[in-house]
Amino acid sequence: MSLLEVRELSVRFGGSEAVSDLSFAVGRGERFGIVGESGSGKTLTALAITGLLPEGAEVFGSIALDGEPLPSDERQMARLRGKRIGLVFQEPMTALNPLVRIGEQIEEAISLNGGDEGPLDVSRLLQEVGLEPRHGRRYAHQLSGGQRQRVMIAMALAGQPDLLIADEPTSALDLVTQRKILDLIAEICARRGMTLLFISHDLKAIAALCTRVMVMQKGRLVELGPTERVFRAPEAEYTGKLVAASRFDIPDGARVPGPELLKVEGVSREFRQGGFLPWRGKPLRAVDEASFSIGTGECLALVGPSGCGKTTLAKIVVGLDTASSGGLQLEGTSYRGRDLPNALRRDVSLVFQDPFGSFNPRMTLGRSLMEPLRLASGLTIAERLERVRNAVRAVGLDTGMLERYPHEFSGGQRQRLAIARALVTRPKLLVLDEPVSALDVSVRGEVLALLARLRAEYGLTYLLISHDLDMVRAMADRVLVMEAGRIVEQGSPQELFAHPKHRMTRELVAARLPEIGASPAKI
C-alpha cells in the first residue's frame, strides 16, 4: 500500500484554480520528486498535503496517509503533521524564529512529538545532521544558510516522521552547500527508511535524488514516471522543453578578446568591525589583493562560494564602493571605486540578481529605465526616449510596456528590463551579478541567449558573477575562482573544470550535479 495517496486534488483561490485534478501516490521508502516552474502548483500541492495552505484556499479531492484520510480538525491535523510528516522549506534565512535559540526550537519539536522510541535529544539530532551540540546554543542569525537548513532538517526529524517533504531546500544555497545538503537528505532517508517527497525546479537535483518524478505545469500533471526514463526520453513535449532548457550549449571556439578594457591591480577591501571603539577586532578583508584584466568583448566569470567577496569586488568595479588599497583602470583612466568619473560611469552597468527587488515599485518602467541617462547630460528628452525604446526592443520586449509598473511583469520579463536598463547608457562593460539564478529553468535559457546575442551585436564585455559552473562554462571565455577574498585560480572554463588544481576549484567541480539523462545518477 502507498504511504501517501493523493486523489483528484484541486486547490482554488477565489475563481482561479492553482492545482487541478491531481492524482498520484508515493510508496513507502520511495524518493519521489515533483518538478515544475514557478506557478506550477508544486508547492501548493505540498502545502495541501500538510494542511498548511494559506487562508482563502479551497481544497477538493482526497489525501490519505497510510490509507487514512487526513483529519479535518485543526489540532489533530497539526499533531499528525508534526509526528508523521517532516517539512523542510526553501528559505533557511527566515524559516527559523530569530529570537529563540536553535536548541530550544528543536527541543520544542521533540517535546511536541517525541515518541517513546528511545532517547531523542537535541544534541543527537544536531549530530545526525552534521552539526555540533554547541550550535544549539546559537541563534539563527549566527548560522550560515547551509547550517540553518541542517537545523530545519533536524527539526523535521524530531517527530521521527515517515514522510519527509523538502520544498526547494537548496535553491537559496551556493553550489557546494547545495550538494552537501542533498547528500545529507539522501543519507538520512536511506538510514531511517524514510519516504521523501522532493520538490524542485532544478531537474539535476531531482535526477540526483529521486527514483520517480512527476512533472507539473500550470497546476496539472504533465508526466509521471521513473526519473531516469522521464528525463532521458520524455513523453510530454513540455518535459522535453524543460530537459533541453536545463542543458547549456557549449559554444565552439574561443573568441579572441580585443584590447584591455578594465584592469584591476591589487585591489583589497577591508571592513572595520565594531563601530568607532578603538579596541575592536581586526578588520575583515572581503577582497584581498585581487588583480586581473578584461579585454574588450571578453566574458570573464568570477566564481566562488557565497561570502567569498565576488559581489564586493563587482561593486568596486562599477564604482559603488571604494577599494581600501590597490587601484583600477577603465579605458586607461585610473580610479579606486566611488571616484569613477561620471563620463566613465555610463560605460559600466550592473545587472542584479533579484529582478523583483531591483525596480522601484512606484515608478513606471519608462521612468526607471530613463534614470541612468542622467549620466548622459547632452541628450534631449526625445533622444532619451528613443534610447529607452531601442534598449527595450533590443531585449525583445514591446515599447508599450514602458507605461506599466514592475508588478505587472514576470520574473523573466523583469530581468530583460533590468538588462535594458543597463543598456540605455550604451555601456562597454556589463557586470552581471547572478543574472539568472532567480529565474526558472526555461526562462533562464532565454535570458542567457539574449545576453549572448547582445554581446555579439554590440561588442559588449561581460564580468559575470555566478556560482553555477554549468552556466559559466557556457558563457565565459575565462574564469577566476575566488575564495575568502583571494583569486586562487584562473583559466579557460574547459581547462579549469577538467583539471582543477586549487582545492577550492576541485570542491566546486565536485559539487556539480551530474548532467541529466546522461547516466543514472548516484548520490
Binding site: T50, L52, E74, R75, A78, R79, L80, R81, G82, K83, I85, G86, L87, F89, E91, T94, A95, L96, N97, P98, L99, V100, E108, A109, L112, N113, Y139, H141, Q142, M152, M155, A156, A158, G159, Q273, G274, G275, L277, R280
Partner: protein, 317 residues
C-alpha cells in the same frame, strides 16, 4: 550585552551633555540681558545690578555653565527668582504628580491597548476587529482635553465617584491622591492605547505570514499555538519602539490634561515659569524633562536588546 549597555549609557551621557549645552547657551547667550528680560523694560538700573549679581551673570559664560552643571550633579538647580525657592524642591514636588500620572497612563494604555490589538488580529476581518479599529481611530482623533471634560462630567459631576480636579498631596492622603489621578490618566491613556492597539494588530498580522510561523506549524502546532509561542514575542519588537516614544510623550505632554484637571504637575510649573520669565526655573525643569526622555530611550534600547539577540552583537550580520 554588557558592552552594549555600556555603549548605550555613554551615548545617553553624551546626549544629556549636548542638551545641557543647548539649553544653557540658548537661554543665556541670546542677544539681550537675562536680568532685563526677567524684570521687564521698566526695571531700574539698581534692581538690574542686584539681580545680575544674584544670577552670577558677572562671571564668564563657560564658568557659569560648569558651575550650573556641577551644581545639578550635586542636586542644586539654583533658586527660582519668582518663587524665591530652590528649583530642585519645586521640580521634585511637581514630579510627584507628573511621574505617577504618566506611569499610570502608560500602564492603562498597555493593559487596554495590547489585548485589544491581539483580539483584533486574532479575528482579523471579523466584526470584533472592525469595531476595535473604529474605536481606536476615534481614540486617536478625540482631543484629550475634550475627553477629559467628558470624563469629568460623567464620573465627577453626574455620578460623583471621583473628584473633578485638584490634587491632594501624597503625604496627606495617598488614597485621595491616587483618586485624583484616575480621570486624568484615563484621558491621557486613550490615544496611546488606541495607537498601541493598532500597532499590535498590524505587527501580529505581519507575523502570521512569516516563514518561521509556518515552520512552527510544521512542527505540529496549530496556527493559534504558533502565534502564541513564536509570534507574539516577535510582534512585540515594533510595539516596544512605540512604547518608548509614548512614555516620552506622556512625561512631557501632560500639560493640557494637568490644566483641565487642575493638577500641580511639571507641565503647569513650566507653563507658569515661562509666563513669569523665570529663566532659572525653566532651565532646570527643561533639563529634567530631557533627562526623563533620554532615560526612557535608554531603557527602550536595553529592553530591545534583551528581546532581540541580533541587537546584542557587535556587528550586524
Amino acid at each position: 550585552m554588557i558592552v552594549f549597555a555600556l555603549r548605550r549609557t555613554l551615548g545617553f551621557a553624551a546626549t544629556l551633555l549636548l542638551a545641557a549645552l543647548a539649553i544653557f547657551f540658548l537661554l543665556d547667550l541670546l542677544p539681550g540681558d537675562p536680568a532685563q528680560f526677567i524684570l521687564g523694560i521698566s526695571a531700574t538700573p539698581e534692581k538690574l545690578a542686584v539681580l545680575r549679581t544674584q544670577l552670577g551673570l558677572d562671571a564668564p559664560a563657560h564658568e557659569r555653565f560648569v558651575g550650573w552643571v556641577w551644581g545639578m550633579l550635586q542636586g542644586d538647580f539654583g533658586t527660582s527668582y519668582t518663587q524665591q525657592a530652590p528649583v530642585a524642591g519645586l521640580i521634585w514636588e511637581r514630579l510627584a504628580v507628573t511621574l505617577p500620572l504618566a506611569g499610570l497612563a502608560m500602564i492603562l494604555s498597555v493593559l487596554v491597548g495590547l489585548p485589544l490589538g491581539i483580539i483584533a488580529a486574532r479575528w482579523r476581518g471579523k466584526g470584533v476587529d472592525t469595531s476595535i479599529m473604529v474605536l481606536a481611530q476615534m481614540g486617536v482623533a478625540v482631543p484629550s482635553f475634550w475627553f477629559g471634560m467628558l470624563l469629568t462630567l460623567l464620573f465627577a459631576v453626574a455620578l460623583r465617584w471621583l473628584p473633578p480636579g485638584g490634587f491632594t498631596p501624597w503625604s496627606e492622603n495617598p488614597l485621595l491622591a491616587l483618586r485624583g489621578l484616575v480621570l486624568p490618566s484615563i484621558a491621557l491613556a486613550l490615544p496611546q492605547a488606541s495607537i498601541l492597539a493598532r500597532v499590535m494588530r498590524t505587527a501580529l498580522v505581519d507575523v502570521r505570514g512569516q516563514d518561521f510561523i509556518r515552520t512552527a506549524r510544521a512542527k505540529g502546532l496549530t496556527m493559534g499555538e504558533a502565534i502564541w509561542r513564536h509570534g507574539v514575542r516577535n510582534a512585540l519588537l515594533p510595539v516596544l519602539t512605540i512604547l518608548g516614544l509614548q512614555l516620552a510623550i506622556l512625561i512631557t505632554g501632560t500639560i493640557i490634561v494637568e490644566n483641565v484637571f487642575y493638577l500641580p504637575g511639571l507641565g503647569r510649573l513650566i507653563f507658569t515659569a515661562i509666563g513669569e520669565r523665570d529663566l532659572v526655573l525653566v532651565r532646570g525643569a527643561t533639563i529634567i524633562l530631557v533627562l526623563a526622555v533620554t532615560a526612557t530611550m535608554l531603557l527602550t534600547d536595553i529592553a530591545y536588546a534583551l528581546v532581540d539577540p541580533r541587537l546584542r552583537e557587535r556587528s550586524p550580520s
